[in-house]
């Protein structure tokens, strides 16, 4: 779907107009119909790369192509839907008027805009707020109307810049579900975040950028497999045994008291059966035994 090849982006800053390189030879590909997560700390170069992907600027060197067309070309832009970080829209417009505006900028006819407005507002759960001015919208509502304008013209490729930033847990969950639904509907979704669990929850593939350099890129499965090497710890929850007894078991890497009893981490899976038998012999009631799944945080540590 999208191919980024050897992209270098420099900016001139300061009094002496010194050249500062923000992206260093970045290359990766986003496959068709995937949900692609783009991770990086604030200032890592995520938004700069996104600006290249949505055709807001051209790279200093290298290419960014959508289905073989340069992203700066209007033909490529017509296939892209973009939600900026913290949606910035004209707040005197109503939700409906905002969609009319972006529909017209996307080349849609009035009839098409009208029909799609009803559909997308329903899809993002905003039908009730279509006549409300954007200045009266909550943060979550703005994100939703932002996604609505991004999908209005039925783009093949969606670029969402930090779509969950500033949202409460319920809002995050709703946006995650919405992105999953969009992927299910056939969109290729690219979204940036600095929150790893958000990316881990919904993405098929992920790329990590740090100080403008691409550190890793691949499928979540492969990256997690890399992180899993040398791990395999198991979490055990039990009750009916004192903390002292639990601490004497050397197989446990850590032990701590929780309201239900004790929660301990068993180092690896070897000897787990013997540890559990020992606990049962000491009148312990096992509450749970659960392998600790590696996270992207482990991979990118």
């Amino acid at each position: 779907m999208l191919e980024i090849s050897n992209v270098v982006q420099t900016f001139r800053t300061g009094f002496w107009m010194k050249n500062v390189t923000v992206l260093h030879d970045v290359s990766f590909t986003i496959p068709d119909r995937s949900v692609f997560g783009f991770l990086g700390a604030n200032g890592a170069g995520k938004t700069t790369l996104i600006a290249l992907m949505v055709g807001l600027r051209q790279p200093t060197s290298g290419t960014v192509k959508l289905k073989g067309i340069d992203c700066y070309d209007p033909k490529a832009k017509a296939k892209v839907g973009y939600l900026p970080e913290r949606p910035y829209f004209h707040d005197h417009l109503t939700g409906e008027n905002l969609l009319k505006y972006f529909g017209a900028l996307s080349g849609m006819s009035s009839r098409q805009i009208e029909a799609r407005t009803v559909q997308v507002l329903k899809q993002v759960g905003m039908s009730h707020a279509r006549k409300l001015e954007l200045k009266k919208y909550s943060k979550g509502m703005l994100q939703r109307i932002g996604i609505a304008q991004a999908i209005l013209h039925e783009p093949e490729f969606l670029v969402l810049d930090e779509p969950m930033s500033g949202l409460d847990p319920v809002g995050r969950k709703e946006i995650r579900e919405l992105i999953t639904q969009l992927a299910h509907d056939g969109h290729t979704v690219f979204f940036s975040s600095h929150v790893i669990p958000d990316v881990e929850a919904i993405c098929d593939r992920v790329a990590l950028i740090q100080k403008g350099k691409l550190l890793a890129c691949g499928s979540i499965h492969d990256l997690l497999a890399q992180g899993a090497q040398g791990s395999g710890d198991v979490e055990v929850g039990f009750q009916g045994v004192s903390l002292e007894v639990a601490q004497k078991l050397t197989a446990f890497k850590s032990v701590r008291v929780i309201p239900e009893g004790i929660r301990a981490v068993h180092a690896g899976q070897q000897g787990l059966e013997a540890t559990l038998s020992h606990l049962i012999q000491n009148q312990a009631k096992i509450l749970w035994v659960q392998p600790i799944r590696p996270s992207l945080e482990d991979v990118f540590k």
Partner: protein, 259 residues
């Protein structure tokens, strides 16, 4: 789907117009113009000269100042605000060009200026009717030329604000307005200058700077002297060419301003 230029321009113009008419600066400028009309009535009562002439002079100045100030102040923040609020980026991520966007902004500004011009012209006409003044083609031509001047100033403000800050753009445009209305003075100083180089520089400046004297009839309006069709046609053509040049430059400068 690639939108057509008129589709983009009209969509951007609609949003721009609805944004500008909510702006407080606009109402302050209009209020100032209305106050000037009030002063003209007061002055006409105290004057020995015919009251309708005082109202005409003050009224014309009010229309001129109000339309010009709206063009300069509003035109200067239109693009800057889009960048400041970052609303421009979603718009430019659509398959539109910078020039189409600038044209839309200009059309929106044109609507606001035209609305203000119509309202103040009607107010002036009403006052003239009430005080026994007469309408003549020169008055209508004078008002039309003020509208053209404001449209030129609006495009100038859009161009300047596309490469600098809002406040600097206002200052530069006020400078253009003052100098542009005194181009003949620059030429006169050049003619009187003894230094050849100073003469060349001043004449060059008079040639390069926008000549807003094309849009001022001066005392011709007061005395109802006739204005030739060629003069109006030249002024209209000049306004069109200058505005088009400014808008093209604004589109080019806009690329440099992005992010």
């Amino acid at each position: 789907m690639i939108p057509k230029t008129h589709q983009v321009a009209l969509a951007v113009a609609r949003v721009t117009f609805s944004e500008v008419i909510r702006d407080k600066i606009l109402y302050n400028i209009i209020l100032l113009a209305v106050l000037l009309f009030g002063v003209s009535i007061l002055a006409s009562q105290l004057s020995f000269i015919t009251p309708e002439r005082i109202i005409l002079d003050f009224g014309m100045s009010a229309v001129n100042l109000s339309c010009s100030m709206i063009a300069i102040f509003t035109g200067s923040w239109l693009i800057g605000k889009e960048f400041e609020r970052r609303t421009v980026f979603v718009a430019l991520s659509r398959p539109i060009s910078r020039h189409q966007f600038v044209l839309g902004k200009y059309l929106g500004l044109m609507q606001v200026i035209a609305l203000n011009w119509v309202l103040l012209s009607l107010l002036l006409s009403g006052l003239l009717l009430l005080t026994g003044g007469t309408f003549n083609p020169t008055l209508i031509t004078g008002l039309f030329l003020f509208l053209l001047q404001s449209l030129v100033l609006g495009s100038l403000a859009l161009m300047v604000s596309s490469f600098t800050t809002t406040s600097l753009s206002v200052i530069i445009c006020i400078g253009f307005y003052l100098i542009g209305n005194n181009i003949s003075q620059i030429r006169s100083v050049a003619d009187q200058s003894k230094s050849d180089s100073a003469k060349a520089v001043l004449k060059g400046l008079a040639l390069i700077l926008p000549n807003l004297e094309h849009f001022t009839l001066g005392t011709k309006v007061t005395y109802g002297l006739p204005v030739t069709g060629a003069f109006v046609a030249t002024a209209t053509g000049y306004a069109f060419v200058l505005s088009a040049f400014c808008l093209i430059c604004a589109g080019i400068f806009l690329k440099r301003k992005e992010q």
